[in-house]
């Protein structure tokens, strides 16, 4: 198991910060995570000791940065069980998903083709496909959810056909925190010749991932949701697919040769996708984050988060005035409401008690059809959260009602 108190000492944000006069409890880890000292040190190291461009110079310093930058690519590949040339650095999950939609979808989708997503996806997973489908006259269809909010696998099987070319899904959804059976979906998709694009923003930071075992075609995630810097992310893609698709941007660094007659020869993947000076500090920070997470152990992180999640849900279910929408989620996300209190008002009450949670409205169809509410509160955990924080959170939940939620203004 993991020694949470020892790990917490690595995070400056966990050293006695206050919010509204109370000890800060950060339960908004699905939005972003705190950074350990080692990540800051890696970013500092780049600016203090080895500043220069990557892939550019003929001098030692440039060679050092290059080694560090490309070393991170190897490190990410090892983390995901991928090949090094299958790792593309991006600005984050959203850019990674847009890259697949624009670079792959726009090139290979035709009129009458179908892209399948689900009713519970994040905008970054669906909107890029909406746009591309409109352009290519392809159809975007949604796999319905069963009454509990899980992907309905029977409907999915019924929807599969030779016309389905792309399936875009989150491995763990950001609202309900349910895990989609990606491995099973990939096997089914491949039997019809479709590719599967996985939004890993809420899964990669929390559990061991093996892209070979999942057999997904693309996987996107962000560094900042896994203790790394903002503005950095990854697209994993099977090499043959990366090779076939187009980059989002053209420019220095991605072309091998070009001439004034308009002939461009792009570099091989992953370099053809990375034009311009990359986010070097972010990539080096990501490496430190992965080293940190691996030292803790992804399986340990997952197990600890589930234990904390199950404890909180068990206690919340005893409270008659709290509605939990995803009690059986096997992830770090708890979605709930305080009965008769609008989500945003309840979130302010948590703020007044030093607890950071997120209120949000979600895809109307998902929430109105399945959950019967227009907004919910999301508490999302990470491995540095403690049982003591959970108890304090539960005590605040117990006090939450319309009156207490308004008292915080006076």
């Amino acid at each position: 198991m993991i020694d949470v108190q020892r790990l917490r000492s690595d995070f400056p944000m966990l050293h006695g910060k206050k919010m509204q006069g109370c000890d800060l409890i950060y339960f908004d880890n699905a939005a972003t995570t705190f950074k350990p000292q080692a990540v800051r040190a890696a970013v500092d190291y780049y600016y203090t000791d080895i500043t220069c461009n990557a892939h550019r110079g003929d001098y030692d310093l440039s060679y050092t940065v290059d080694q560090a930058y490309e070393g991170t690519r190897e490190r990410v590949a090892r983390f995901l069980h991928a090949q090094t040339n299958e790792i593309v650095f991006t600005s984050g999950t959203s850019e990674s998903l847009n890259l697949v939609a624009q670079g792959y979808g726009r090139k290979f989708l035709h009129e009458g083709d179908i892209v399948l997503s689900s009713e519970s996806e994040h905008a970054s997973c669906v909107l890029p496909w909406m746009k591309v489908c409109e352009e290519r006259k392809a159809a975007l269809s949604f796999i319905p959810l069963d009454p509990s909010g899980h992907i309905d696998m029977d409907s999915f099987r019924a929807q599969m056909s030779d016309r389905v070319k792309v399936i875009a899904l989150a491995m763990i959804t950001n609202v309900l925190g349910y895990e989609a059976p990606i491995q099973e979906i990939c096997a089914m998709a491949h039997s019809y010749g479709a590719v599967v694009v996985v939004d890993g923003a809420q899964s990669v930071p929390h559990m061991p991932i093996d892209v070979r075992k999942l057999d997904c075609d693309f996987l996107a995630f962000s560094a900042h949701k896994m203790c790394g810097p903002t503005g950095t992310g990854v697209l994993y893609g099977k090499y043959a697919l990366l090779d076939a698709m187009d980059p989002l941007h053209l420019g220095g660094g991605s072309n091998a040769r070009y001439d004034m007659c308009g002939n461009i020869r792009l570099k091989n993947p992953p370099f053809k996708f990375e034009s311009g000076t990359p986010n070097i500090e972010g990539v080096l920070g990501l490496r430190a984050a992965i080293d940190y997470l691996d030292a803790v152990g992804m399986a340990n992180i997952h197990a600890y988060e589930l234990e904390l999640h199950h404890y909180i849900v068990k206690e919340l279910l005893k409270m008659n005035h709290i509605i939990v929408y995803n009690p059986d989620a096997q992830s770090a996300i708890i979605t709930f409401n305080v009965k008769d209190v609008f989500a945003q008002d309840a979130a302010t009450f948590f703020n007044a008690n030093g607890i950071a949670v997120r209120s949000g409205q979600h895809c109307a169809k998902l929430l109105i059809d399945r959950l019967n509410t227009s907004a919910t509160i999301r508490a999302s955990l990470y491995f540095y959260n403690t049982k003591a924080e959970a108890d304090r959170f539960l005590a605040v939940c117990a006090q939450a009602n319309m009156q207490s939620c308004l008292d915080v203004y006076f």
């Binding site: 945003q344 703020n351 209120s359 915080v408 203004y409």
Partner: protein
């Protein structure tokens, strides 16, 4: 101002009352009404405010939408305060309300129940909720001058 309006319990009950029983909470299907859709970019609030303006006066104000306690109650109170006022009178009340929200001096007598929001800035991220309906009516008045 009445001493009652200094009591937090009273102010809280004013907000609750306007949230549970919002006034003028039904949109009109009438071309004489102009409307403003306010969708907050940073939170959930998404409301429509309608006003019927005639001869320099606000004859009616109504609103609807998905909104939290603070935005629903503040918009409900706004609709009661400004209904029937001339544009000039309404502008004066709006100015006093924003003065209060910004922590400047303001005339409590003009604002009446709207003083319930005088400490909303303690939860800084909710100031936008307390002003969303007021910004809507300001926009409607501004556009009526064009």
């Amino acid at each position: 101002m009445s001493e009652l309006l200094k009591d937090p319990m009273v102010l809280r009950s004013i907000i609750m009352d306007h949230y549970e029983y919002p006034r003028n909470h039904e949109l009109q299907d009438d071309p004489q009404y102009v409307q403003k859709h306010m969708a907050s970019e940073s939170c959930i609030d998404d409301i429509v405010v309608q006003a019927k303006l005639a001869e320099g006066k606000i004859d009616d104000i109504c609103f609807d939408g998905v909104a939290c306690t603070i935005s629903t109650a503040s918009t409900s109170i706004m609709s009661e305060l400004l209904k029937g006022k001339t544009k000039e009178e309404a502008q004066q009340i709006i100015d006093q309300y924003f003065a209060m929200i910004d922590g400047r001096e303001y005339d409590e007598n003009v604002l009446q129940e709207a003083v319930a929001f005088h400490t909303v800035g303690k939860q800084a991220n909710r100031i936008k909720c307390a002003t969303i309906g007021w910004n809507a009516i300001q926009a409607i008045l501004d556009e009526s001058e064009e």
